[in-house]
């Protein structure tokens, strides 16, 4: 299958799972189903997973496409350092979060989707991937070169026009090379 970065698919799957988990939880709580406490947990876990998975990681190879407005989430997720960087931690976290969902029908689908996301993250971790924040590149201001401190104020000194004009019969001694062709009569 080539050099796929599993984490990208795991991220999509986990985000979808978080949404499904939360939706199932909302239905369970709003409908006042039996064991609604599991549904309430489902809402909390689903929302947490969505927040964690919303910022995409920077790709190892190729251009990374950000999700809209993900910068603030990137900063929050980055703040947790190795906990969020490492995909083994994420795989384990998702596996743990999904278990209570299995106890109630409304959250079962979220539970299974999150479990699958956890497995894909495990695969990503085994392949050595890790999460990298996508940070905006601060463009260094265009430098004109170390030796140029200021652009010159005056034009360079030049000989008067009569001497500047290239003599057709004396091209070798001309003052400088002109990219535009000069006509013989001017």
């Amino acid at each position: 299958m080539g050099k796929i970065e599993w984490a990208m698919w795991a991220n999509e799957q986990a985000l979808a799972a978080g949404l499904i988990y939360a939706t199932g939880g909302i239905v369970g709580v709003a409908g006042q189903f039996r064991s609604w406490q599991f549904a309430a947990f489902g809402i909390a876990a689903g929302v947490f997973v969505c927040l964690l998975e919303y910022p995409r990681s920077k790709r190892g190879k190729g251009t990374s496409v950000e999700r809209t407005g993900q910068y603030c989430f990137t900063v929050c997720v980055k703040a947790f350092g190795p906990l969020t960087r490492n995909y083994y931690v994420r795989a384990f976290l998702h596996a743990a979060l999904c278990v209570p969902g299995g106890f109630m029908l409304a959250t079962v689908l979220g539970c299974v989707c999150l479990a699958i996301a956890s497995l894909i993250y495990l695969s990503a971790a085994i392949h050595g991937e890790h999460w990298e924040p996508i940070l905006p590149r601060t463009e260094p201001p265009k430098r004109t070169g170390e030796s140029i401190k200021e652009p010159p104020q005056n034009p360079p000194p030049r000989p008067p026009p009569e001497l500047r004009r290239k003599k057709v019969d004396n091209l070798e001694t001309a003052a400088y090379d002109n990219p535009m062709s000069v006509t013989i009569n001017e």
Binding site: G2, I4, W9, E12, T23, G24, V27, L105, I116
Partner: protein, 563 residues
């Protein structure tokens, strides 16, 4: 606005009809479960019954539709048949993938509604088994059929279970979970990010649709949706008898009601398209078994590989594409490439950019990294499926044509230009009178193979005194300062220093507004076809230009092709 109607009218009509059918089915089946037969079912479930059945009907309809846009061979056949009648209708078939995605979103939406409604249904069925009180109608209803296990209403037959266990032990529940999981996996792996970067993951996961359809057909086999039988309604009218539930069967006016399940209906909707799709795959397989021989391999700079092949009985039109498989690289992967040869040539050729694993492996297999010439028998065996029609087929049906290609997107137009040339050589009155060709390219090296083609065309046209038939503009969209300085020095050279062509290469991006206005004033009152093979941003820009330029009564009709 007029151009908008010409460009988008049929698409909008098709979408509205499709939405209309969805709404109709939803409302119709919602109301169908509000009748007396389901009176007692509704006593337990309330409106959630209708909320579950209505999206189910829409799901049947959409699952029927979703297989059709991906039957490439069927669409090619339809396209060929309609083309003689209506260009617009034929163009509509180019948007098959967009339609496929729309139908997929609708399936996802209806699945969500269906599942949420069923969550309520399961909960209410469970409740009515647990509230053990013989003065409670739902409980009484749930006890019907305890003896013979056939005439029951409540699919949850005991109170010592819970909805989750019931779900995993009924056919409907189990297949429901499986197909929903398949659907979710298909959707997450079809996200644009995954699809563009790791096509194989997308393609292989998408084959879970087989699991989806099998589960879908089996979903209703358990007959879990139950209502009163017709005979029972005749003798036991729910509207009158529901209040006397404590005395059912004890006097003659209200015998105990008998319930039965609805037979599965989904198979009737999907069996046709499933059959068509199976035929489609068989056609693809048959075509792929035909022998293909590589006759020439050319390596071009900027990592482009040209393969010239021969296949017996292969017929193509201008600008079509084929799917290529190389069994020695991968048995399962088929990749699409535009044909760069003209129909009048005796071989077929493709130009492949080396960008991913498969193309890299193909490059190695064809001896790209060896300097010695390979014998023909050492070249890998190939399989080809196609050709499939795209927008470029329509080029010759317009009198004036604008062709815009960005980077590697210029490949279908290679085929067009070659074919134009052959047509002029072979017959003298060709309907197309003028071609404006725009090629946007980020780097100079990519010019090489295409520039050769343009040079030879330029030469041949001058010989035939037709130099104003084709007007081409090449735009270099990215350049370094050093190059620009060199080019400025070569300003007055007769041939362009990069391409060697008579028309100069320009820098930056074209000003489309000016180009469209100029062309419109040059050809008043005609229909001008605009063909693009390139990125979406360019497509949006050109689409807008087509819609807004109507001076002198010209109409620009926009055709986009992409994979």
């Amino acid at each position: 606005m007029g151009n908008f109607a010409a460009n988008e009218g049929l698409s909008i009509f098709v979408i509205l009809v499709w939405l209309g059918i969805n709404v109709f089915l939803f409302v119709h089946f919602y109301m169908a479960f509000l009748v007396d037969r389901y009176y007692y079912t509704r006593v337990i479930l309330g409106q959630a019954l209708s909320w579950a059945r209505a999206p189910a009907a829409c799901l049947n309809f959409n699952c029927m539709l979703i297989l059709l846009p991906v039957c490439r061979n069927l669409l090619s056949f339809l396209r060929g048949s309609i083309q003689c009648c209506s260009r617009t209708a034929a163009r509509q078939l180019d948007r098959n993938l967009t339609f496929h995605k729309l139908v997929a979103y609708m399936i996802a939406l209806h699945t969500a509604i269906h599942i949420i409604a069923h969550l309520f249904n399961f909960e209410r069925f469970m409740d009515s088994q647990l509230m053990i009180n013989s003065s409670y109608l739902p409980y009484v209803l749930s006890q019907i059929g305890n003896n013979d296990n056939r005439s029951y209403l409540n699919p949850i037959r005991s109170n010592e279970t819970n909805p989750t266990i019931v779900m995993f032990t009924t056919i409907a529940g189990l297949t429901g979970v499986v197909i929903t999981l398949a659907l979710i996996l298909i959707i997450t792996s079809s996200m644009e990010v995954i699809r563009r970067s790791y096509f194989e993951v997308f393609w292989f996961t998408h084959h879970l649709f087989i699991v989806f359809f099998i589960g879908l057909v089996l979903h209703g086999v358990g007959r879990i949706v139950r209502g009163q039988t017709v005979e029972s309604v005749n003798v036991h009218n729910p509207n009158e008898c529901h209040s006397h539930f404590e005395t059912w069967g004890q006097n003659n006016s209200c015998p105990v009601p008998v319930f039965a399940g609805n037979p599965p209906m989904t198979w009737k909707w999907v069996v046709g398209p499933m059959f068509l799709y199976v035929c489609e795959r068989l056609v693809r397989f048959y075509r792929s078994q035909q022998k293909v021989v590589i006759t020439k391999v050319v390596m071009h700079p900027s990592k482009t590989l040209e393969l010239q092949m021969k296949k017996k009985g292969f017929k193509m039109e201008v600008g079509q594409y084929v799917f290529i498989q190389c069994p020695s690289i991968s048995q399962l992967e088929w990749h699409p490439f535009t044909l760069t040869s003209a129909p009048e040539e005796d071989h077929l050729s493709v130009h492949i950019r080396i960008v991913g694993d498969w193309t890299q492996a193909l490059y190695t297999a064809c001896g790209g990294d060896k300097t010695v010439v390979l014998d023909a028998w050492t070249l890998p065996k190939m399989a080809i499926d196609g050709p499939f029609g795209t927008a470029s087929e329509d080029v010759f049906r317009y009198e004036v044509v604008m062709l815009v290609g960005a980077g590697i997107g210029v490949t279908p137009f290679a085929s067009v230009l070659k074919s134009v040339w052959y047509k002029h050589v072979q017959e003298n009155n060709v309907f197309t009178k003028k071609i404006y060709f725009y090629w946007l390219c980020p780097e100079t090296q990519a010019f090489e193979w295409f520039a050769d083609l343009l040079q030879s065309l330029e030469r041949q046209m001058t010989e035939k005194n037709m130099s104003d038939f084709l007007s081409y503009n090449i735009y270099l969209t990215r350049w370094k300062d050093a190059e620009a300085a060199h080019l400025r020095v070569q300003y007055e050279a007769e041939d362009d220093p990069i391409t060697g062509l008579k028309q100069k290469t320009r820098y930056g991006k074209p000003n489309w507004d000016n180009e469209f206005s100029a062309i419109a004033t040059q050809h008043p009152g005609s229909k001008i076809g605009v063909f693009l093979c390139g990125p979406t941003a360019l497509a949006t820009a050109l689409g807008k230009q087509c819609i807004s330029h109507k001076e002198s009564g010209t109409e620009f009709i926009f055709n986009k092709e992409n994979f």
